[in-house]
Symmetry: C2
Subunit: 452 residues, 2 copies
């Protein structure tokens, strides 16, 4: 039977781990999207409160977590860590498989870890409202929840095709009191401009980001919130790995490999960065990111300066990228459909401190169903990539006649993704070829930047 | 901020609490549906394994929980108990509101507490397959999950209208490996007979029960499983109240009132029976069941012998009932749409040891939205009745200038009920009048039974 490793509330971390001072080289500068010159903190002030801008650039290794944020996290943290005995038995593997489970949060994924921190710092800075974008709704619902906790109004620009096809996450955001607009919307110049040209536009994450940024930049009392990619977002997620380190001690083991699925990077950073610190201090731990074959940012992208969004309104950062106008196929793991990657994760990959692997979606759903039938938890389609990677690690270890200790992060539950399971079980789920041509075309449009 | 009271895995109860020996009078006999004579244990043998039949009739106050069942429960138990500071603040109440949260189970409600016990005893008795019915799918998904854990095949007869309108819970059951048929089905004589007369039949819980019972009775390797009403089911749920008693000690308080929503009775029994024991030993605790106005079994029903199902195939039991052919309006709290009640809960009510109250669904959704916005958890529509009752208790206490300690069971999350929230938020949710005529008509059909 499955074993559960719990920590008491007092063991919620008191510091976030900031990986920047431990990296072999300093991060590349962040460039202004218009001038391609390094941005200064004050350039970011219309979008973020000072405390978050400071965290974005901080060189402090351990950043204290305010007590109010710890109290908010205590609603669901520390999250459990499980030894997957039932899954191991079904596989017949000699390896030991552990998973950290972030689906216990109110919004059902790891996203609220940073949402409550962002809401706290904004509320403390006197901000009245947060504007953000969301695709399928994981991030939008997390910030709606967190905004409620700290008394902030929340406006979500939700990609129109998801707004119409996924009404349930929209309802969840509204239940938590958020204002939700289908993007492109009539609320912003960007939205109105697009609707004037194309009234039937389905929207895109790029457009929704542009709308949220414009909303924040044009309203004194409003700031912008982003759910992944940025340094401070990755740092807020390190509570996952820090807790997992304590829990692995309770289990009396140390992982040979630490696995997280990878979209923008915050989930992978959350589980992996604290172990990366160990690795940089000599521990022989492997760090492995799992991504979709159809959006292979880490395995097939280049390490280059690129825009964070399609509309070229966001800063230019050095990261693994498939090109800012690459539009990934419509896989069900909506949270992994991003052309870029966190600059910090990209740097770790470039430095050879981690590995990445890509899987097609049917193989991931197959792994997810096996996981549900053995461990009992229904995984989010995003998380299924980490499960698939863990199964592959166990299989390879068995083939080599070795025993491996495998830890992965189960970043969320799939309660809002049963339509995808339905399609998988009915044999109607498609795999997508590696979209070589679309990626090559997109990569040709990378900005020319003169900074090393 | 909300405070959480957790117990370690070792504190999962080692015994279930069986209320029967503590009740002021012995339970009324259970009657054969054909002869109206008391059933003997052997009459139940085609449907249930011996261990569960013994539990159904046990006079042992504390029934040991097998270690295998405790290990299965440990996947999500002990469940957390919270002090609802944020909700209290929003209400401005002097009262202290606590809630036990059962939505942390893999299927998202309290139902797996008995599902794993039933699956364990069936597997131990050499049963290969379980047959059961489900309405909206809460019970069906719980038994699908539990069957997987203990290596049992599971067949679910799902009321056709739900099968078609709620595909997601169907997918959840299939993901957990269950076979799911729309009921009426071609699998049973009952189903075929109904389809012959009415090929477009939408089905009903009564028909689905009949199909599952027939399936079990006509297959040597198959038994039947029921998710509520029965004594052993109520007993399995007492882990909720037993844990809550320990957690209230941690909080340093004892409840003035203990609240659970009520459909068939297992959820209410789970939170309330351990406190009923205290009450019968002199503690001045009130026990309060909350039910829908549209299906007011406890507040408007009679205490009489009646059939458990519409088709009159199940035993006749003495219970609070609205009549076995009463068909409640289509409220979203599908788990509360049952004409009868657990005989044990009915006996408690008849003995004046508990109270019951009824609420219309819009008021319950209003309470649920307030709860989601303060406590962060999205409640199941069933659980929203308990929330509404807790709010009313707090309001009345404030009016009386008193401070009350209120404990309720949040029996599940509403992740599969966002369509209902959508309707509520859009102002499209209907309330139903008290269905007086339908109830009176149905009550006229109660069986005439000559046993006191």
């Amino acid at each position: 039977m499955t074993t559960k490793y719990l920590l008491s509330d007092e063991r919620i971390p008191r510091h976030w781990y900031n990986i920047i001072p431990d990296l072999p080289t300093a991060p590349a500068p962040v460039l202004h999207p218009g001038t391609h010159q390094p941005v200064k903190p004050e350039d970011l002030a219309p979008l973020f409160p000072l405390a978050l801008i400071e965290q974005e650039m901080s060189l402090q290794r351990e950043v204290p977590i305010p007590e109010e944020v710890r109290a908010a996290l205590a609603r669901w943290r520390p999250s459990p860590l499980f030894r997957a005995h039932a899954l191991e038995k079904a596989l017949g593997t000699r390896s030991h498989i552990y998973y950290k489970y972030e689906g216990v949060s109110p919004a059902g994924s790891h996203k609220p870890n940073t949402a409550v921190a962002q809401a706290y710092y904004n509320a403390k800075a006197g901000v009245r409202r947060l504007a953000t974008e969301t695709g399928a709704g994981q991030w939008g619902s997390s910030i709606a929840f967190a905004g409620q906790l700290f008394g902030l109004a929340v406006t979500v620009y939700m990609v129109k095709v998801s707004y119409e096809q996924k009404p349930y996450r929209r309802s969840l955001m509204r239940t938590w009191g958020a204002e939700v607009f289908a993007s492109p919307s009539e609320q912003t110049n960007t939205g109105r401009g697009i609707l004037a040209k194309d009234p039937g536009s389905n929207g895109s994450l790029g457009i929704a980001i542009s709308e949220a940024v414009e909303d924040a930049a044009t309203h004194e009392d409003t700031k912008y919130a982003l759910g992944s990619v940025l340094n401070h977002v990755c740092m807020h997620q390190t509570v996952i790995g820090l807790e997992a380190q304590e829990q692995m001690k309770l289990a009396g083991e140390y992982p040979d490999v630490v696995i997280g699925c990878h979209g923008g990077g915050s989930n992978f950073a959350g589980i992996a960065f604290p172990f990366a610190r160990d690795k940089m201090h000599g521990k022989p731990v492997r760090l492995l990111a799992a991504e979709p074959t159809s959006c292979p940012t880490l395995t097939r992208g280049v390490y280059a300066f690129d825009y964070g969004d399609t509309a070229k309104m966001s800063p230019v950062v050095k990261m693994h990228t498939l090109g800012h106008d690459f539009m990934p196929p419509g896989i069900h793991a909506g949270g992994l459909r991003y052309h870029g990657a966190s600059p910090l994760v990209s740097q770790l990959l470039h430095a050879g401190l981690m590995e990445a692997v890509a899987f097609p979606q049917r193989a991931c759903f197959e792994a997810a169903v096996l996981f549900a039938r053995t461990e009992g938890i229904l995984p989010a389609p995003e998380s299924s990539h980490a499960i698939k990677a863990a199964l592959e690690e166990a299989r390879k270890a068995d083939e080599e006649g070795r025993e491996r200790v495998i830890l992965f992060n189960l970043s969320g539950h799939g309660h809002f993704d049963l339509g995808a399971y339905d399609q998988y079980l009915a044999g109607r789920l498609e795999d997508y070829e590696y979209p070589r041509e679309a990626i090559e075309r997109s990569m040709a449009g990378l900005p020319k930047v003169d900074i090393a």
